[in-house]
Amino acid sequence: MEETRNPGLFGIFSLFAGISTLTIGGGYAMIPVIARKVSSKGWLDEAEFYGLFATAQSLPGPMAYNTALLVGKRTAGAAGALCAGLGILLPPVTIVMIAAALVSTAGENAVMGAFLRGAGATVPGLVAALLLRMTLKRSWNPARALLSAGAAAAMIAAPVWAVPLFFVASAIAFLFERPEGGNGS
């Protein structure tokens, strides 16, 4: 194991605790932040991170939490996964309990509402950037490109079926991936 791949349990905990404390806007705001941090710290390269993100999407549970767990596991084993999970959980649970004790209708406060509106408005841009980075870091071939585009079109046409379509697309893609790990067909 190289140095960079071994961030230490406290390093993992504090990274995810930091992200979880500062990032408003849910999973799609958190994923790009996590992607940036783990690659800038040299824990994982960006393409490898998107692989973990794909696995996180295929399991139930909050996306950012699942992704953090997988990053922790890849870099420091099961203990790393638990530290990453605690890092994601602890700050929001604490902040939410304090907030719940103090206010009941924060969404109705005008200043807070404006802050939220601004923060929330960045999410479409973050998702677009995530899609672009995933596109650039993917090793494409005709089958992968066609299936990704076809699945996207199907999901956009029938968003209610997005989860079943995700698994159908994965299964079809699996058949088209060469077992040799070559560049498919």
Binding site: Q57, S58, A99, T105, M155
Partner: protein
Amino acid sequence: MELVLAFLKIGAVSYGGGWTIVGIIKTEVVGRGWLDEQGFSELVGLAQVTPGPVALNAATLVGYRLYGVPGSIAASLSVVFVPTLLILAAGFILGKLGERTALRLDQSLRTATFALVALTLWSFAPAAAASIPAAAYALVAFAVSAFTTVNPVWVILGAGSVETIRAVFAR
């Protein structure tokens, strides 16, 4: 106890981003009569203001409303329990599959995830096109996140601050 069971179930069946999970929590919580529609909407508002995954925050809040601090800890641990087990097990199963099959699976999931992210972008697009400031925040966030090494969290907090200032001056 019923709270723990409900959130274990929610954790086990919730796929996709936070908003899908919030829908599932609503069905369970409002359906059981623990909270009414109005109370749940207020709670989701608060889950958005607070940092962290929206679904997790919603779970914590429901637990808090019903049973105070012990309730919020129980609900948040329950909602992530099944996903945690599955992730630890997934690594084990992938190890058993052998490297080639695991690689094929990884590549197939990447192909399908691309589509899921595209769908998310599609569903967010109208919000970004709704007003000039909204489009500007989204564009800046896109440019910073796609082409620079700046941590996107600063853009999120920055956009919130700019919008707050705008709102104060608009009065």
